[in-house]
C-alpha cells in the first residue's frame, strides 16, 4: 500500500506495566499519513493504556514509540513533560463533557493549546477557523458560550476543534462517539473522515464498535490482553478474519448475521495473570473445537505466538494461521 514511505507513527514492542499488571505487553503498530486505523478491543485489552502512552500521558515500561522518526515515548516523568509540547499529536476524548472545563468559554478552550505553545499570532482567526471546520458555524456564535450551553455533539466538535487548531499530524480518538446519541454519531464520524481527506491527518481510533471501524477505518488492529492479535485492511479483517478472537468478536456483533455466533466463555483474564502460551488459548473456540491438527494444538498452551508485527500485510498472532 505505501511501499518505501516512512511510517508516520511506529509503535515498537511497547510494554506498559503497573506492578504485576501487564496492561500493554508487547504491542506494535505502524500508521501512515492520511489513514484511519481502528484499534479494536474489549475493556481489559489495554487499548486505552496504549493510546495514552502514544499521547504521552502514560509512561512506557519498555519499547519505543516514534513519530516521523522522533522518539515519542517517555520512561521517566521528566521526559513525559518535554514530550507534551509537541503539537503533532492531539487527542479526542470519550467524554466530551468531562473534557471541557466548565469555567472556560469555548474560545478559551479552543485557544488553550495555542496559548500554551505560544503560537499566539492570529489566535482569533485560527480559533474561528477551527470551530468552523469542526462544523460549528458561524463560529462567532459559539465563542463566548460555556460548555453547558451546547449539546453533547457540539461539545465533541469543540474538542475536535481544540485538537485541530494545533495542526496535528496524528489524532488519537478514544471512543469518540460512544457517549453521544446514536443519530448524531454519523456526523462526527463523517467530520473525522473529512479531516483526514482534507489535511492528510492520520487518526488512530480506539473503539469496541466494529460498525464504526467499518464506517471510517482503512485498517483495523485487534487487541487482546495487551497485544495486537490481528491487523490488516478493514474489508479483509471484517469479512474474513483469521484470528479466532476476531472471528468470535465479529460473530457476536448484532449487525452481522451471516456468521454463526461464537459466544466465548468467561471474560478477559486479569492482566496480572496472563495465561501461558498463547494468551487466548483458554477461551479459544478453535482450540476447543478439536479440529486443529495435533501439532498445532499442542503449541497453543505452551508457545507464545509473539506479537503481530503490525505491518501492512495482514497478520494474525495465531499458530493456526499460516504466516504471510
Amino acid at each position: 500500500m505505501h511501499p518505501g514511505v516512512t511510517p508516520l507513527v511506529e509503535v515498537d514492542d511497547v510494554h506498559v506495566h503497573f506492578g504485576r499488571s501487564r496492561a500493554v505487553d508487547g504491542a506494535s503498530l505502524r500508521m501512515f499519513a492520511g489513514e484511519v486505523l481502528a484499534l479494536v478491543g474489549e475493556s481489559g485489552s489495554g487499548k486505552t493504556t496504549l493510546i495514552r502512552a502514544i499521547q504521552g500521558l502514560q509512561r512506557t515500561t519498555a519499547g519505543a514509540i516514534r513519530l516521523e522518526g522522533r522518539p515519542m515515548n517517555a520512561t521517566t516523568r521528566r521526559a513525559v513533560q518535554t514530550l507534551f509540547s509537541d503539537p503533532a499529536v492531539q487527542m479526542v476524548f470519550q467524554d466530551p463533557t468531562g473534557a471541557l472545563n466548565p469555567r472556560q468559554t469555548i474560545y478559551e478552550i479552543v485557544a488553550e493549546g495555542l496559548r500554551i505553545g505560544r503560537h499566539g499570532k492570529d489566535e482569533r482567526e485560527k480559533v474561528a477557523e477551527a470551530l468552523s471546520r469542526a462544523g460549528l458555524r458561524p463560529p462567532e456564535r459559539f465563542l463566548t458560550m460555556y460548555p453547558h450551553e451546547i449539546s453533547g455533539g457540539q461539545r465533541q466538535r469543540v474538542v475536535i476543534a481544540g485538537a485541530m487548531v494545533m495542526e496535528p499530524r496524528l489524532l488519537l480518538a478514544d471512543e469518540p462517539v460512544a457517549s453521544l446519541d446514536a443519530s448524531i454519531r454519523g456526523e462526527i464520524l463523517a467530520l473525522m473522515r473529512r479531516l483526514v481527506d482534507e489535511t492528510g491527518l492520520a487518526i488512530l481510533v480506539v473503539t469496541h464498535d466494529l460498525g464504526l471501524a467499518w464506517n471510517i477505518a482503512d485498517r483495523v488492529a485487534v487487541m487482546y490482553l495487551g497485544r495486537i492479535v490481528e491487523t490488516g485492511p478493514t474489508e479483509a479483517i471484517l469479512s474474513d478474519p483469521k484470528h479466532p478472537y476476531t472471528r468470535a468478536l465479529l460473530s457476536v456483533v448484532p449487525e452481522t448475521r451471516e456468521m454463526e455466533q461464537q459466544i466465548l466463555i468467561g471474560e478477559i483474564p486479569d492482566s496480572a495473570r496472563i495465561p501461558g502460551g498463547c494468551r487466548f488459548h483458554p477461551r479459544c473456540p478453535l482450540l476447543q473445537s478439536g479440529t486443529l491438527p495435533p501439532e498445532v494444538a499442542a503449541r497453543c498452551p505452551t508457545d507464545d505466538p509473539g506479537p503481530v508485527a503490525g505491518d501492512l500485510a495482514a497478520g494474525a498472532a495465531c499458530w493456526a494461521v499460516p504466516p504471510g
Binding site: 453533547g152 446519541d181 443519530s183 448524531i184 469496541h208 460498525g211 469479512s239 457476536v252 448484532p254 471474560e267
Partner: protein
C-alpha cells in the same frame, strides 16, 4: 386471542422540576405485549424511554404526574393502593437495571440483595430457603454459588449484570423489564447476557420488555420493536422490518447509525442525522422531528402526526406514510 400481559394505554408522564416548570417526558404512549412475547423500545436521550420503564412499576419520583393505564396481568398498576402495588412489584413485573455500580448496594453482599425480594414478598419460607434459591439463581445466570458472598465492587461489569438478572427473577415474575442492561458492557459480555436473557425467556415463558438506545441489539433480541422520539412512539412493528425497511424517517436515520458490516454502501460513509434530539419541554412545532427530517414538508409544522397503519402489524407517525 388472550388478553395481552402488559397493556399500556395513553400514558402521559409529566415531571415537576425544582423551579416550578413542568416537563412532559411521555406524551401519550400506548402499546401491548402478549404473554411470552418480547418487545424492544428504542430511543435516544430525552425520548422518555427510561421514564416509561420506571413508570410501569410506579418508580418515579413523588410529584410526577402520571395519567393513563398500565394494565399488568389484569390489574391497573397506576390505580393500585400501596398494598396492592407492593404485591405486584417484583412478583408480576421486575426490572433489570443497567449494571453500573449504583444499581447494587455497595455495602451488602450480592447474595443478600438477591434474597431480599424473596424475604420481602414471602416467596421463600425461611432464610435458608432463600439462600438455597439464591445459589440456584446464581447458577442459572452462570455464576458460581460462592459469589453470593461477594460485594458488588468485587465483580466485573458482566458479573454484576448477571446478579441483577438473578435478582429480577427472585420472585418468578411474569414480565421482565430490562432497562439498558447491556449498555456499557463489552461486545462479548453483551452477547453472553443477551444469550442468557433469551434462554431464561424460553425456559420460564417470560415476557420481555427491552429498553435501550442500541437498535441493533433490539432487532436481534426482540420480536417487535417500538421507536420513541420526544415522548411518543413514532414507529412500531416486527423488529427486522422496522430496522431494515423503516417507514419513519427518524427510524431510517437511527438505523443508519448501526451499519451492517459487509454492506459496501456504508463503507466510508458514516450516516446519521443533523441536529440534536429535542429536549422535553422544548419541542418544535408540529412534528417534533421536522427540524431534522430530510423529508420535511410544509404540512409537517402544522400538527403532530398520529400513528398510522404502515403495513401489516406496523404503524408509523408520519404524514408520508
Amino acid at each position: 386471542m388472550s388478553e395481552p400481559l402488559l397493556s399500556v394505554r395513553d400514558l402521559h408522564i409529566t415531571y415537576a422540576t425544582h423551579d416550578g416548570s413542568r416537563v412532559p417526558a411521555v406524551r401519550g404512549v400506548s402499546f401491548e405485549i402478549d404473554a411470552g412475547g418480547s418487545m424492544g423500545l428504542a430511543g435516544e436521550s430525552g425520548c422518555g424511554k427510561s421514564t416509561l420503564a420506571n413508570s410501569l412499576l410506579r418508580l418515579l419520583p413523588v410529584g410526577t404526574e402520571v395519567t393513563g393505564e398500565v394494565v399488568l396481568g389484569g390489574k391497573n398498576v397506576l390505580s393500585l393502593n400501596p398494598g396492592g402495588l407492593r404485591a405486584v412489584r417484583w412478583t408480576s413485573g421486575a426490572i433489570v437495571f443497567q449494571g453500573a455500580l449504583h444499581a447494587l448496594n455497595p455495602v451488602q453482599a450480592v447474595g443478600r440483595q438477591i434474597a431480599e425480594p424473596m424475604l420481602v414478598h414471602d416467596t421463600a419460607s425461611s432464610e435458608q430457603a432463600a439462600r438455597r434459591r439464591t445459589v440456584e439463581l446464581l447458577g442459572r445466570v452462570g455464576l458460581p454459588g460462592a459469589r453470593a458472598d461477594s460485594y458488588p465492587h468485587e465483580l466485573s461489569g458482566g458479573q454484576r449484570q448477571r446478579v441483577l438478572i438473578a435478582m429480577a427473577l427472585a420472585c418468578d415474575p411474569l414480565l421482565l423489564i430490562a432497562d439498558e442492561p447491556t449498555t456499557a458492557l463489552d461486545l462479548m459480555v453483551q452477547a453472553q447476557v443477551l444469550a442468557l436473557l433469551d434462554e431464561l425467556k424460553q425456559e420460564r415463558n417470560l415476557t420481555l420488555l427491552f429498553i435501550t438506545h442500541d437498535l441493533s441489539v433490539l432487532t436481534y433480541a426482540c420480536q417487535r420493536l417500538a421507536i420513541m422520539y420526544a415522548g411518543r412512539i413514532v414507529e412500531e412493528g416486527p423488529s427486522w422490518e422496522v430496522f431494515g425497511e423503516a417507514a419513519h424517517p427518524y427510524t431510517r436515520g437511527l438505523a443508519a447509525a448501526f451499519p451492517t458490516i459487509g454492506d459496501l454502501s456504508s463503507r466510508m460513509a458514516p450516516a446519521g442525522l443533523a441536529g440534536d434530539p429535542p429536549t422535553p419541554g422544548n419541542l418544535p412545532q408540529g412534528c417534533p422531528f421536522n427540524p431534522r427530517c430530510p423529508l420535511a414538508q410544509d404540512g409537517c409544522r402544522d400538527a403532530e402526526p398520529e400513528l398510522r397503519i404502515a403495513g401489516p402489524e406496523r404503524r408509523a407517525a408520519c404524514i408520508l406514510v
